[in-house]
């Protein structure tokens, strides 16, 4: 099978994407496929037309690759591709839209308020901040609406820290949200072909629990898979993750990040194109389910070529 691997691009997560892509290319070659890597740029459509691949493996992360933009082009060109359809990607990468969808479907997601930059600049939204802070309590979390990694995510321990956190979050997106902080265990559920893989728990190894930079770094965060959970918790987490994927339309392939609070799981976000690097969570979960990385890549490819199999 002739596979183009789409990677890199202009996203801020270019570095991770290049690593995901390189690892996928290795696996595809070992599996005997004809592999054409493409660094997604201005010549993407031209190159896809010239290469005429059987399928595109999308290893793009972040805005531009995970948000449905590349997927839409692939749909127009009639090239099957891995991962969710364009519409599902667009819904998932936008946390505000995704959380609204979850709410509509009755899935627990922490309370939040979203703002555009215009709201502050032109409509005096700052005057509403105190009320929201009262509702959400401190600490609260400020996040850019779009973006797949921890970039721009800040904790605000008090009202004085909110403006700085908002300025930081607005560096990454024109829309940001303030979200209630849920104290609990961080877990992630990877979904493949409508089924949940074993749950991964991320345990910070040291220091500041609010240091997002440390979260996905080997040595600073310890990952346990399968996570040590009671059957009740495991079922509740899995159900919430699968319901989320169904609601957003990405049940074929995605990773759902949740917090297990004292009152059960809360869904934080969905990654439509989860990382596939050495340290990424999806490959760890697949491995715990007895799948090698080659098995995982094969399964993802099969789902793209025969979506009905999902």
């Amino acid at each position: 099978v002739k596979v183009v691997v789409l990677k890199g691009g202009r996203s801020l997560e270019r570095g991770v994407s290049l690593r995901s892509g390189a690892r996928v290319e290795d696996a595809l070659e070992r599996l005997g496929h004809e592999v054409v890597p493409i660094d997604a740029g201005a010549d993407l459509v031209k190159r896809l037309r010239a290469e005429k691949p059987d399928v595109a493996f999308v290893a793009l992360h972040g805005v531009g690759g995970e948000d449905g933009t590349a997927q839409e082009l692939l749909e127009i060109l009639g090239i099957p591709f891995t991962g969710p359809a364009a519409a599902a990607c667009a819904r998932s990468i936008d946390k505000v839209m995704a959380k609204a969808t979850m709410r509509g479907a009755g899935i627990p997601t922490p309370e939040f308020f979203a703002f555009t930059q215009t709201a502050f600049r032109d409509l005096g939204a700052a005057d509403a901040l105190a009320d929201l802070e009262g509702t959400l309590g401190f600490p609260l979390v400020v996040k850019p609406s779009r973006g797949g990694s921890s970039l721009g995510v800040k904790f605000a321990a008090s009202a004085a820290e909110v403006p700085g956190a908002l300025v930081a979050a607005f560096s990454y997106d024109d829309r940001v949200m303030l979200e209630r902080f849920i104290d609990g265990r961080e877990v992630a559920v990877s979904v493949l072909g409508g089924e949940a893989l074993p749950i991964v728990e991320a345990i910070p190894a040291e220091g500041d629990p609010y240091d997002f930079e440390a979260r996905y770094e080997i040595g600073r965060t310890h990952f346990v898979c399968p996570a040590d959970l009671s059957p009740t918790d495991r079922a509740a987490i899995t159900d919430a993750a699968l319901a989320t994927c169904r609601a957003l339309g990405c049940e074929g392939f995605a990773r759902v990040d949740l917090i297990l609070g004292s009152d059960g799981p809360w869904v934080l976000e969905v990654n439509a194109i989860p990382g596939l690097t050495d340290t990424s969570l999806l490959p760890q979960a697949a491995e715990a389910a007895g799948m090698s990385f080659e098995d995982l890549v094969t399964r993802i490819l099969d789902l793209a070529l025969a979506p009905s199999a999902a």
């Binding site: 202009r10 801020l12 502050f120 600049r121 970039l151 979050a169 930079e213």
Partner: protein, 460 residues
């Protein structure tokens, strides 16, 4: 001979979690302080061709005539191919050391060639000195901010790094004295003080003559070493040159680090250390363990280049070029950066250090700037702690005037947006939020420093 080459052997693709844990179990403790981060990934984006990068520290090597390089390399091939392709002495070739003596003499120093070891760039010089002197937990003192490339070196040898604030006259020696007294009271002796006294990277400031004298005096008094890193001394755009610490001290307590990177080429990876003989002996042993010797070929190249004369006129050309670019950047900063920003006005070197209101995190700002295809180094890279978050390093040597103007204009625009946004969020605090700059914190009695606070209105 015409066989089709085989594809390279690919590493096993299925590095599993178990493998990772197994490797992690083998890692040395010092690797836990070698951090990668999302922010480092962000720097990967700065390498895209459409990005105007003011983030590098790159000399403009396009000014070196290609035909000259070709002629020199041909001469080496014709005269001494076998020797140029061979290993060399660990401490470097005597003939290349003669070139180093010439360079140092141009800055008023007269080192004994036997006190010199040639290194693979100035970076290796920092590494070897630290390797030679520092045990885990030993105190190393440096400037705040310090050379970003020195931070991972000190961290990987598990040094306890203490950073001393600077003002327009360089490192605050009064604060250094306080720290030395405090350490003494704790019964601890720092191993060395690392400093870039002239056209500091990233600060752009120069240590004053009085402070130079006092620093050397303190080193003698406390019997600690000063590591003087001087890559930019020859790149002076104006004003009087100040004597290097090495010259003031005579080389007893000052270890001197030099490099050809900024006066000739960073690609040849040639730097050097001048140290007192007992220290030098250990450094040479350390270097032998690291790489046996510095590239013979590039040492031959330097020898050839210097034998033809005219190396100083090439440096003068570079100085003229960079002076113009510095002026361009300063003009662009005055035009495009908001009123709350301050920056240094260097008399030489490659960098300007700009400080923004303290509510702006330049790491996040970089993400926003990258959306406008422009990059800089976030200030935090120059600190081992949380300081520097609202500062940035700007390089003016590696890009042309048009790019400098456009790059600064774009950065100014994104800063302006953040300032405007912050003011709409916290109107009551906009007064008090005006800068607590980290560099221009000069005391009142100090001479007028070369730190220029901006007085222009933020552009719309």
């Amino acid at each position: 001979m015409t066989e089709v080459p085989q594809p390279p052997h690919k590493r096993r693709a299925h590095t599993s979690t178990r493998d990772l844990e197994r490797y992690a179990g083998l890692f040395a403790e010092r690797t836990t302080v070698m951090r990668s981060s999302a922010m480092r990934d962000l720097m990967a984006v700065t390498a895209r061709p459409e990005v105007i990068s003011l983030a590098g520290g790159l000399p403009d090597t396009s000014t070196f005539p290609p035909e000259r390089l070709a002629a020199q390399m041909s001469k080496i091939a014709a005269d001494s191919a076998a020797a140029a392709l061979q290993y060399g002495p660990t401490e470097g070739f005597d003939e290349t050391k003669d070139c180093i003596v010439e360079v140092m003499a141009a800055e008023g120093m007269l080192p004994d060639p036997d006190d010199i070891v040639i290194t693979t760039g100035g970076q290796q010089a920092i590494d070897l000195v630290t390797k030679t002197l520092v045990d885990p937990g030993d105190v190393v003192i440096c400037e705040a901010p310090t050379y970003p490339g020195a931070v991972p070196v000190f961290c990987s040898y598990q040094a306890d790094v203490r950073q001393i604030e600077m003002d327009g006259d360089g490192m605050r020696i009064d604060l250094l004295e306080e720290l030395l007294e405090d350490l003494k009271a704790e019964g601890r002796r720092p191993k060395f003080i690392y400093t870039v006294p002239t056209f500091q990277n990233p600060g752009g400031v120069t240590l004053s003559l009085e402070r130079r004298a006092r620093l050397v005096e303190l080193a003698r008094l406390h019997e600690i070493l000063v590591v003087e890193d001087n890559p930019y001394g020859m790149l002076r755009f104006g004003g009087e040159a100040l004597p290097p610490l090495y010259q003031l001290d005579g080389g007893d307590f000052v270890i001197y680090l030099g490099t050809f990177s900024k006066i000739l080429s960073p690609g040849i990876r040639l730097g050097w250390v001048v140290a007192p003989p007992p220290v030098l002996e250990k450094i040479v042993l350390g270097k032998g363990a690291t790489d046996l010797c510095t590239s013979t070929l590039t040492q031959f190249f330097v020898r050839q280049y210097f034998s033809e004369g005219g190396w100083k006129s090439y440096v003068e050309d570079l100085v003229d070029l960079y002076r113009g670019r510095r002026d361009t950047m300063l003009e662009a900063l005055a035009e495009h950066f908001p009123a709350e920003a301050t920056w240094t006005e260097p008399e030489g070197g490659l960098f300007i250090w700009a400080t923004l209101p303290d509510y702006i995190d330049t790491g996040d700002l970089l993400a926003k700037a990258l959306r406008s295809d422009v990059a800089f180094v976030p200030g935090q890279a120059a600190y081992v702690d949380e300081r520097g978050k609202n500062s940035m390093r700007l390089n003016f040597s590696g890009v042309n005037d048009a790019e400098i103007r456009e790059g600064i204009k774009r950065i100014g625009r994104v800063i302006g947006e953040q300032v405007e946004l912050y003011e709409s969020l916290a109107p009551d605090t906009s007064e008090s939020a005006a800068t607590t700059p980290s560099l221009p914190a000069q005391d009142e009695s100090a001479e007028p420093s070369n730190v220029v606070p901006l007085r222009k209105e933020a552009n719309g």
